[in-house]
Symmetry: C2
Subunit: 224 residues, 2 copies
């Protein structure tokens, strides 16, 4: 290139180094009510579609929920499950003195209380009925949707959008299907509320890798 | 920083821009038998551990299989499933004239034929028994392992290692557990054969995002 040539360079909002995006991905549950550009959500979903699917079936379906009435119904499903799960979790974590988990439960409570105000709620579905048995079928099918959900979360993180993976609003597949108008052969798998974060992304803490890796046989902790 | 200060900069092997890694991630099944540095595999798994888990349980277990005898047993499990699935798939795809899928089946056949020679086979497990019912439990649990599997695949892609997500060797959880010495409460979910690629990574093709996104209710293709 000639040295005098003018250079125009528009960096992609998703060009964050892969390892930095992964190391600073955390569930962001407290979100501003400010609207999010549809085009940005669609770009995140477009990256989600890059993930692998079993037999390359590409059989995802994403429902982008912005209508307040639909969000309210999902929020009600979320609350009815959290009203059982929340106090139980709080009691158990309190007994264990698990302060980080109690902070997470505070954020989950915030999310339950403000569900309708979250600008965008994405529901990731598979265009497939998932049989409970054999377990390899279930594993293969969930293995065709959760990699794309992880891409969606990483894309959100790279562009600064808050997001978190939840499943509580889907405790009743029947009610979730009814809320979203899903036919029987489209299975809702995960819910990702998205919006501009009130909190911020940052490094996470994890167990040392040697503690969760075995060599050749379970329990052979060769990398500790 | 003083202008004269010497700068040393070691780029991370995982610093590829996020969107580039996602757009060029594909299943790499044909792998060289050359050994792969343990440290590199562990760094990929360390990034896998950055993915979210339900209730932040961090309850993954990864088995890194390098022992040829263990790989041979997994390979046998893989072949016994592929001997049924392969000809069936080939017959169906042949009828449909689906040439790309026939090429994928060729690669899956190569993988089945060379399983023992693959340098590293990672088995991603959950330290949890996954009940077949209710479906929200299964979804939440698979949602605690497949995001980490996707991180592993993206990390492999960034550093140039070939990898693919398969589940066929786990068609019998009982035999897979026996092969890897897994207790009943550790569930094998996915298998990721890894090694230096014979083929190469490159851009993938996908359906347009508007075809798989609905607004508010299923079937409202507002973004076509």
């Amino acid at each position: 290139m000639a040295e005098s040539a003018p250079q125009t360079f528009t960096p992609s909002p998703f060009a964050m180094p892969l390892d930095q995006a992964m190391r600073t991905q955390r569930a962001i549950r407290r979100l501003k009510p400010d609207p999010v550009d549809d085009a940005l959500i669609l770009k995140c979903i477009e990256l989600a579609l890059r993930a692998p699917t079993g037999s390359n079936a590409q059989n995802w379906e994403f429902i982008v929920v912005k209508d307040r009435a639909v969000k309210a119904r999902l929020g009600q499903l979320n609350r009815s499950a959290f009203n059982i799960y929340g106090p139980l979790g709080r009691w158990m974590m309190g007994r264990q003195g698990n302060a980080p988990m109690l902070r997470i439960l505070d954020a989950v409570q915030w999310q339950a209380d403000h569900f309708e105000e979250i600008p965008v709620v994405v529901v990731a579905c598979l265009r497939q009925f998932i049989p409970p048995w054999p377990s390899i079928a279930a594993s293969s099918m969930y293995g065709s949707i959760y990699p794309s959900v992880q891409n969606l979360l990483l894309a959100a993180r790279a562009t600064g959008l808050g997001a978190a993976l939840i499943t509580l609003p889907l405790w009743s597949k029947l009610l979730a299907r009814w809320t979203l108008g899903l036919p029987w052969n489209v299975t809702p798998c995960a819910v990702i509320p998205m919006g501009w974060p009130i909190g911020k992304y940052g490094p996470t803490t994890r167990r040392p890798v040697g503690e969760v890796v075995s060599l050749d046989r379970f329990g052979n902790r060769a990398f500790l």
